[in-house]
Amino acid sequence: MSDWFWIIPFFPLAGFLVLGLVGRRLPVAAVSLTACGSVALSFVTALFSWQALLRQPDEARFFSQRLFTWIAAGNFQADFSFGLNPLSMVMVLVITGVGLLIHIYSTGYMHGDPGYPRFFAYLNLFLFAMLTLVMAENYLLLFVGWEGVGLCSYLLIGFWFEKPAAASAGKKAFLVNRIGDAAFLLGLFLLFYQFGTLDFRGIEHALHSEPLHFPVETGQIGTLTLTALLLFVGAVGKSAQIPLYVWLPDAMEGPTPVSALIHAATMVTAGIYLVVRSSALFTRAPLAMETVAVVGMLTAVFAATIGLVQRDIKRVLAYSTVSQLGYMFAAVGVGAFVGGMFHLVTHAFFKALLFLGAGSVIHGLHGEQDLFHMGNLRKQMPRTFAVMLVGMLAIAGVPGLSGFFSKDEILWKLFSSGHTWLWIAGLAGAAMTAFYTARLILLAFGSRPHGEEAHGHAAHESPAVMVVPLVILALLSIAAGWIGLPAWLGTNHLEEFLSPALAVHAEGAHGAGSHSTEIAAAALSSGIALLGIGAALLFYFYRRLDPDALAGRFPFLYRLLRNKYWVDELYRGVFVQPCLWISRRVFWLYWDQEVIDGLVNGTGRILAGAGNILRRLQSGSVRDYAAWLCAGALTVLLYLLIV
């Protein structure tokens, strides 16, 4: 079974081709069957390949299968070859697993939509692209997957293309990603000119076998650091970090399963996968690692603050995703590659759960997304409430659930690797995360304050086909924590599985203190989480403190957060408008029309003018002509005399 692993991406591709070409003619059931079937098949193959991979001895734990040479010019060579190593195995499992659940959920959610086959065709294409991304053997094929997922997110965000907002959100997502991809391309060139190849194993082997040729560039921006930074910019674009995150909140215009699959579980994590996959490169560029960590933590805190005041349920979750991704980058930045991956896995489960839960709420309320219009759904949608509660507790980091273990590991690694400032910011972020998720649950499901009428009565519980995946995800959110227990609790299976594939970050020496400090840190982080939840209860359940009053006291701060720090307007004002103005006024109308065309038509007019003057010389009277003739003869004679 091990040598058939490369079939995994081709199942969804087949699904896409079938649905794309003949989807319109198939009955609804056949469509959903092919869609979910193809994902299920690849999930099963993934499981078998995982088993085969486990049987491999530690040092040779990878498969590789070259299909054909894609581009070869001179000494540049890029093959179309798939491969599996522990890192990509984890990603494949998460993608196919969560993907399958979301496919099943979508058959319910998208029921009755005219573009039903088109939706599943795009979803399958997305899975194919994501699997290509993670299973690629060289950076170029990864780039194919990279842009492929960008395309699918464009198509799926703009799925309801009649809505102008959806269409422009899709375009915005693609373009912002494209900025990151441009930097990514430059990184690829630098890589090629340093290593002569773009294959992962080729580069890793080069880095290991010739340490003197590729020294660790501490303190100065060498080519290695520059390459790492360029790759990181690409990751920032894809995983919506500080400068290029603006597209994720707008991406919520797409259907909710899309947000769950693409903008929570899989696509946005591609950035982290890229950094972790090129860990060998990053470990040689400490400066790059520092920037990753700082940018990550900055995004985490920044996004969390905005999340506090959002009214739309999906916007809250979107900013929470940005924040959690920040955490993952912070972890990777300080060298805790395994910690980052662990949080990635757990986050995929509980964030997908929260999104799908929100989806069923919206489905129940027939499209209502504003939190302040919801209320006491607890009774109408008890099952959704239960799973959402589990999701909330997990993300808040309540001890025992998966969120606690993965977030705590990150916080511990931050603390142990000496980045105290980052650790403190991490704690603040954790508190805010707890607060806004609790706020979400309380506003949506809690009882409305006396004044406002509630729409609750019209809501109905979602059908089984939507609830079953939710329940599975809830279970996963609870159980996922156990695969990466911290040292003082048990063995970290994930670490054992991943360690051969990752480079050891020399600097991040293991835990400064003993187990006791680790436990104390864990206790502190869980306390912070409970504190956050309590605050939310105070605001929205017991209504001791009035949120509007608080907002009244700090009007500027509230408006700042409410308008998302006016970042969108800033980008529009600084980049988009001037660029359009310059290209219209200066380039097109002035340079093309006036200067060059002016020049061309000018010469035309000058020649015609000269022609007119010459024409007027023909006065028509014979005597003038005779004068011309004699003058001509005279000049010839004089010329002879003089020359």
Partner: protein
């Protein structure tokens, strides 16, 4: 003994002269029967011209090589090729003459006699070895042209054109004559042989000075015929005023003869003149090219535009006198062949389009012609493209060969100016094409219905178009022809 050589060498000219006289005698008798007469005379003229061509080649073959020193005419092959070209042009004109003249009601038997006499004058001009016979040849040509221009007595514009051409023509003959006087003074005789001897010898500083002044004045006389810049002012008015068929003849044949005579003085056979013909001829070439092209841009009347374009082409032609290697004659022959055929074709079509009364064809009259008369429009476009020098037409081969040889002599500057000028010329040559093909048919004044093309015109335009395409696509035949004729000379 030498008389017999004389007669053989001049056989084509004798034929033409005798034919002319015979026609002059014949026309009064045929006055009565209008239709039969109008068929017989043109046919006779054509026969004479073709006979002359045959005579030309039979004579050329067995001619003893030494041009007759003491006689004032040489049948050398340089003049053979040019006389063949002149005969070709006269034949084409005689083909198209009858329908045109009848339409303009100036049909006379004498027209054909004049045509033959003018051919005789031109042949004399291009083949003479004696200054006096060159002068007489020039005069025969000029007076013939004055009469042709004056034929259309009723049309004011034609009369004015004839008078202008007459007065300016006689002034230029006066200059020409004074030039001959100077040369006669310097060399003591009018024969070319003595002239060339003196030129080569650089013996007497002062004699050559006098000689230079003479040659300069002779250049002025011939330049007038070619309409080069300082002496071009007559061209535009005469081309516009005169009947277009006569202009067709007028813009090609005299130029070929004048160019042949010019080549004899300034280039042919003898070491480079030490006096600076190169300079002022170079300046005149540049001036005529640029003025010709620039003035043509803003012309609305197609005939006036073609007048300025022929001034420009005269400018290109003059470059040939700088080529001092053996290809000079073949280059000039090819260029003149292409130029005359293009111009002939263009003016013949214009004379068809101008309809009864020969009113001037403006660009506006041409619009939408492609719909009404696709055949004529295509042919006129072919000629205009050839005048521009688009490949696969005779114009391109001519320009390519000329510029190639000119570059061989290091005239890089002149060639670049010439090339830029032909780029500018593309604009106004293509404007009629734009009007014919791209402008819609004007509804309001429905254009004069062009009568069906008479056979004579069709044949004439056909030969011109055939020559252009043949020269463009398979030039090797004509190149061989020119070289074979000239090699015989060397």
């Amino acid at each position: 003994m030498n008389d017999s050589i004389l007669y053989w060498a001049l056989l084509p000219e004798i034929l033409a002269g005798a034919g002319g006289i015979f026609i002059v005698l014949l026309t009064p008798f045929l006055r009565g029967s209008r239709d039969r007469g109008s068929r017989l005379i043109p046919g006779l003229t054509l026969l004479i011209l073709l006979g002359a061509m045959v005579a030309l080649f039979t004579v050329a073959r067995d001619l003893p090589q030494s041009p007759m020193k003491e006689l004032s005419f040489s049948g050398d092959t340089f003049s053979l090729s040019f006389r063949f070209l002149l005969l070709l042009i006269c034949a084409v004109i005689s083909l198209a003459a009858r329908p045109f003249l009848e339409r303009e009601e100036i049909f006379r038997g004498e027209f054909y006699a004049l045509l033959l006499f003018i051919y005789l004058g031109m042949a004399l001009l291009s083949g003479s070895q004696d200054l006096l016979s060159t002068f007489v040849g020039l005069e025969v040509l000029s007076i013939g042209c004055y009469i042709l221009l004056g034929l259309k007595r009723s049309d004011l514009r034609a009369n004015e054109a004839a008078w202008k051409y007459f007065l300016l023509g006689s002034i230029s003959s006066a200059f020409f004559l004074y030039g001959i006087a100077m040369v006669f003074g310097a060399t003591g005789s009018t024969r070319y042989a003595d002239l060339f001897a003196l030129m080569g010898s650089h013996s007497d500083k002062q004699a050559t000075l006098l000689l230079n002044c003479g040659l300069a004045l002779i250049f002025v006389g011939l330049a007038f015929k070619l309409a080069l810049v300082p002496f071009h002012s007559w061209a535009a008015d005469v081309y516009e005023g005169a009947p277009s068929l006569i202009v067709a003849f007028f813009s090609t044949a005299p130029k070929v003869a004048a160019m042949a005579a010019l080549m004899r003085f300034f280039n042919f056979h003898f070491p480079r003149m030490h006096y600076s013909a190169g300079h002022f001829a170079g300046w005149i070439a540049v001036a005529s090219m640029t003025l010709g092209n620039l003035a043509a841009i803003s012309q609305q009347n197609v005939k006036r535009m073609l007048a300025y374009s022929s001034i420009a082409h005269a400018g290109y032609m003059i470059l040939a006198i700088f080529i001092d290697n053996e290809t000079a004659d073949t280059t000039l022959f090819i260029y003149l062949l292409a130029y005359s055929m293009m111009n002939l074709g263009a003016f013949l079509i214009l004379s068809l389009l101008s309809g009864k009364g020969d009113l001037c064809v403006s660009l506006h009259d041409l619009s939408g012609l492609a719909e009404r008369r696709p055949g004529l429009a295509a042919l006129l476009s072919l000629f205009l493209l050839s005048l521009t020098g688009i490949p696969l037409t005779g114009g391109f081969t001519a320009k390519f060969y000329l510029f190639g040889s000119a570059l061989k002599n290091g005239l890089v500057g002149l060639v670049i100016i010439a090339v830029l000028n032909s780029a500018v010329s593309a604009y106004y040559y293509l404007r009629p094409v734009v009007h014919m093909y791209m402008k819609p048919l004007p509804e309001s004044p429905s254009p004069a219905e062009v009568p069906p093309v008479p056979i004579g015109f069709a044949l004439a335009i056909g030969t011109a178009a055939l020559a252009i395409l043949w020269l463009g696509i398979l030039p090797s035949f004509w190149l061989e022809f020119a070289e074979k004729v000239n090699l015989a000379l060397k």
